[in-house]
């Protein structure tokens, strides 16, 4: 099919519809408004549910409800709105429900700003809610990838019975690129949702959706069951891309928009005879630690590039384990780094003038 | 002869005595001589014959302890 030029937010919305979205519940916040706006029009046309909730808190709890009833359901928001959803998210994870959450990140903390940012890395990968849980979190770098991953994310959520977070920055939400909506994406092997409390009890026992376990033994077992899922994610479902690694003397680690800008940076560096690779985490949780085992001997330095103050650095260091020096370059507050800034940084490191 | 009777699911009873206040013929009390499996002093009737099967005790019992049956004269 021909490619369609669409705004990121609208493309993500359409991708969800293509994935069989039954219901969308959200609350307006810049820079993701085109997403609910698009769905407010399209969902009713498809006979599906759209509700502009009274708040992010209500929206995520509507998601929890619909997910418990077995529906494919999504919400979207941006950074402070995601902060408000933390209790809801830990509930969804605790009750083992599938749902997709899109976070179009903006600058923080607090009200912050409305320009692109990646400053929710901690909020996303460490879980801002209480308890031992994680969100399977995908960070696409282009609209095509965003669309493909969103289409797949509903399967992933159903497979793990766990919320999936799509983490993009405002740049991806606002930009336009041609997208092929019909591209095949992996289909996961899904079981029917016999666990759903869907009000259709005629031929089965009642179903209960719940995250409360007053008996500590039960809660411990429940936690261990959840842990097994997170272990499976880590062991089998890391995603990443290794770019230009052959003979690289330095490797950039960057996700989302910053990885894309880094692609331009390594072109610039190539012109100057510097071989720079990129490890691009596609899952930011589980963090793609395997990638770090594949780093070739030639590499002497790692540079983490983010639109935040270095939130991913710890994860990189954890898996580099002191084998290589890990440097950081970041811009914050809505400032998007240019390729030249990144390549300059690489040159400093390679040339040894980096402090 | 009694017009009705009640059946007490003793182990569900929490001995709250709420039902007792609503029996129009005052035949309910707690059996202080025993405790049930969960440690509560359960309900008992002290004069079965007086029960009119009105159901008030059962309606007011929060724990669905009481079943009430009414004896219906056969039309002969």
């Amino acid at each position: 099919m021909a490619k369609v030029l669409m705004k990121g937010n609208e493309a993500m919305a359409l991708a969800a519809i293509k994935a069989g979205l039954d219901a969308f519940y959200g609350y307006p916040i810049t820079p993701q408004n085109e997403l609910p706006e698009y769905l407010s029009k399209q969902m009713p046309l498809h006979g599906r549910a759209f509700v502009q909730a009274e708040s992010e808190v209500a929206a995520i709890n509507m998601v929890y409800g619909a997910a418990g009833a077995g529906a494919r359901v999504m919400t979207s928001s941006s950074s402070p709105g995601i902060a408000l959803k933390q209790e809801g998210l830990t509930y969804i994870a605790g009750a083992e429900l599938p749902a997709v959450i899109i976070n179009v990140m903006r600058g923080g903390p607090g009200l912050g700003g409305i320009q692109p940012s990646q400053a929710d890395y901690k909020q996303i990968t460490r879980g801002g809610g209480n308890g031992d849980y994680y969100l399977y979190s995908l960070a696409p770098e282009s609209l095509q990838e965003a669309v493909d991953l969103i289409k797949e994310s509903f399967d992933i959520a159903d497979y793990f019975r766990n919320p999936v977070m799509i983490a993009v920055d405002g740049l991806i939400g606002q930009m336009m690129e041609p997208v092929d909506f019909e591209r095949e994406v992996p289909k996961w092997d899904l079981k029917p949702k016999t666990w759903a409390a869907d009000g259709n009890r005629k031929n089965r026992k009642k179903n209960i959706i719940n995250s409360l376990y007053l008996d500590p033994n039960d809660l411990e077992n429940h936690n261990l069951k959840l842990k097994a899922k997170y272990d499976e994610m880590r062991d089998k479902h890391q995603r990443y891309e290794m770019i230009n690694m052959e003979n690289a003397e330095i490797v950039i680690v960057a996700f989302g928009s910053t990885s894309r800008i880094s692609r331009t940076a390594i072109e610039l560096l190539k012109e100057e005879g510097i071989n720079c690779g990129i490890i691009r985490p596609i899952t930011i949780y589980p963090f793609p630690q395997n990638a770090f085992n594949e780093i070739p001997e030639s590499v002497k330095n790692i540079l983490v590039v983010e639109m935040n103050l270095g939130q991913m650095v710890d994860d990189v260091k954890l898996h580099v384990q002191g084998r290589l020096p890990v440097h950081f370059y970041g811009r914050v507050g809505g400032i998007v780094p240019e390729a030249e800034e990144i390549s300059d940084q690489v040159k400093k490191i390679v040339g040894g003038t980096y402090e | 002869m009694a017009k009705g009777r009640i059946i007490i699911d003793i182990d569900r009873c929490k001995g709250c005595a709420l039902c007792i206040s609503y029996c129009p013929v005052n035949i309910l009390e707690l059996d202080l001589t025993t405790t049930n499996e969960r440690g509560y002093t359960p309900l008992m009737t002290n004069d079965k014959e007086k029960c009119i099967g009105c159901g008030f005790c059962a309606i007011m019992c929060p724990d669905s302890v009481i079943t009430v049956e009414k004896f219906i004269k056969e039309a002969k």
């Binding site: 490619k3 030029l5 930009m175 336009m176 928009s257 800008i261 072109e267 998007v336 240019e338 | -």
Partner: protein, 179 residues
């Protein structure tokens, strides 16, 4: 081979976003890679805005354009902001109705178009952006006027269809202003 990076900047309300989007739509139509992205000033309302458009046969990487091939400047603050970034020998296309008596770098190619007045003469101040776009197409030859008009025809349907003609004239007028 096409690899054209353009930044279009002006006040909100001058139609800079639409100009850029039209280019990206035209590229998509021809199955050429493209990426458009908007940037708004810190003012909540009013203030300046710009968009970056990349059109390329190759995969587009950075959405951010550090060194544009062309800049289209619709107001004064935008000139100050983007002139320094323009690549050597790049095109600086200026709406001279609003941007007058400025200093320009001498290693770039400056074209001034009296877009507001041309648009007013055409009968609608709002098509000043299309005048500038006509000039841009004439200078860069990225797309033909007809290709852009084709996009407009798809977008302007129903009651808006009557706007196509004046847009066509605006594109032409822009071309004439720089050739």
């Amino acid at each position: 081979m096409i690899n054209e990076k353009t930044i279009i900047a002006g006040f909100g309300g001058q139609g800079v976003m639409l100009m850029g989007q039209l280019l990206s739509f035209a590229a998509t139509e021809k199955d050429i890679n493209t990426l458009w992205f908007p940037s708004y000033g810190p003012e909540t309302r009013g203030g300046t805005a710009n968009c970056s458009v990349t059109i390329s046969d190759e995969h587009v990487n950075s959405p951010v354009i550090s060194t544009p091939d062309t800049i289209i400047i619709m107001n004064k603050p935008s000139l100050a902001k983007f002139q320094p970034k323009l690549k050597v020998n790049g095109i600086c296309l200026v709406n001279s109705s609003l941007v007058k008596d400025e200093e320009y770098r001498d290693d770039i190619r400056v074209y001034e178009v009296d877009a507001n007045n041309i648009a007013k003469e055409l009968g609608n101040l709002k098509v000043a952006n299309m005048v500038m776009l006509g000039a841009y197409l004439a200078l860069t030859k990225v797309f033909t006027e007809d290709e852009v008009l084709g996009i407009l025809k798809k977008k302007f349907t129903g009651s808006k269809a009557k706007l196509i003609e004046i847009n066509k004239y605006a594109l032409e007028a822009g071309r004439k202003a720089v050739l």
